[in-house]
């Protein structure tokens, strides 16, 4: 087993533990954790069964295996970032609506009281 494999296995385990811990503490919803769970699981699979990835990496013309792994991780991160931006936009819309509704309710309430 190469050094890279050992580092990847350890890192994946730490990462998985961190995710599971925050799930247990309820600081991350299960729905939102799926994308993050995918990342260490993919890493772990690559570390334990490196042969198919090595073959694919060689086939695609990567000179070093680690470069191909970097690419996979960056790809997953880009997907997660994109998903986060979509979520933030949806939240912004919802917050805007809430602020507007609350402000109008406050005004109606104030009008009722002063009558």
């Amino acid at each position: 087993m190469s050094k890279l494999q050992i580092i990847m296995i350890i890192a994946s385990f730490i990462f998985l533990l961190a995710i599971l811990f925050s799930l247990r503490k309820n600081s991350m919803s299960i729905k939102n954790s799926i994308a993050w769970l995918l990342l260490p699981i993919v890493l772990l699979l690559i570390a334990i069964f490196p042969t198919p990835i090595e073959t694919l990496s060689h086939f695609l013309g990567f000179e070093v295996l680690s470069n191909f792994i970097f690419l996979i991780i960056i790809g997953l991160l880009v997907i997660i970032c994109f998903y986060l931006t979509v979520t933030i936009s949806q939240l912004q819309t919802k917050i805007t609506k809430l602020i507007q509704e609350i402000a109008i309710l406050k005004k109606n309430d104030h009008d009722k009281k002063s009558k």
Binding site: T96, I99, Q100, I102, A103, I104, K106, K107, D111
Partner: protein, 236 residues
């Protein structure tokens, strides 16, 4: 003809210097009005409360789009026939109010825009060369993508009828709301926009929500929004 129920919406963000003067002017017209305090950090809210002005207090700053939409929602819920956007900084003149209300009362338009560019008699502070150029290009872009012409797409002096109020209450752009909502109406709805000539005065106090160094960025942003919106299907 029964007189229509008119609401003047005055969005205010940090307008402590000018809000009282503007409201005093608006009060003289006799129309209903409401001020939207967009999370001001100065004394705007205190001035509004002390003078017993009718106002809606947003707990956080939403920006001009979110603030104006609050006004349209309020107008919609309270069944107003006409809602008018009126700036708190004193650049809109109350003597033009009847001009922008008239076309709606005579069913000539669903949205009336007080325009500085419709004819040559209404020269204003807006007529700096670069600004005029920017607004002209914006007007051209809107024409290319919607097939219809609006001469002053950035004017914040607008009157909306019932169907436009309903539309805005439901869907109003948060950033650069005037050019984008004008475009959306021209492109996606059957509502009619009419421009009437108005003169706007120099801002009396405060800074414009669009700072000069940001103008280029703003124009780019609006162009991009228009292109992206054009790719969308007609929305309900």
């Amino acid at each position: 003809m029964p007189k229509s129920k008119v609401l003047i919406i005055i969005p205010a963000y940090n307008e402590q210097e000018s809000i009282k003067k503007t409201v005093t002017e608006v009060q003289k017209t006799g129309y209903d009005f409401v001020i939207i305090n967009d999370g001001s950090t100065d004394n705007t809210k205190r001035i509004l409360a002390d003078n017993n002005y009718p106002f809606i207090d947003l707990p956080f700053n939403l920006g001009i789009g979110g603030a104006m939409q609050t006004g349209y929602k309020y107008a919609h819920q309270n069944n107003y026939d006409i809602a008018i956007q009126f700036d708190a900084d004193g650049q809109h003149n109350k003597s033009y109010l009847k001009d922008i209300i008239n076309p709606i009362e005579n069913s000539k338009a669903n949205l009336v825009v007080g325009s500085c560019f419709i004819d040559k008699t209404t020269k204003t502070r807006r007529s700096s060369a670069i600004r005029t150029f920017g607004i002209k290009s914006l007007s051209n872009i809107i024409r290319i993508f919607s097939g219809k012409r609006i001469y002053d797409p950035t004017s914040g002096f607008r009157a909306a009828d019932k169907s436009t109020i309903a539309l805005f209450a439901n869907n109003y752009p948060l950033e650069y709301p005037e050019p984008i909502s004008n475009f959306e109406i021209l492109k996606f709805s059957n509502l009619k926009i009419k421009e009437v000539p108005v003169t706007m005065s120099k801002r009396e106090q405060g800074k414009s929500s669009i700072h000069s160094w940001k103008n280029f960025y703003a124009a780019f942003n609006v162009f991009l929004s228009i292109i992206i919106l054009s790719l969308r299907r007609k929305h309900e």
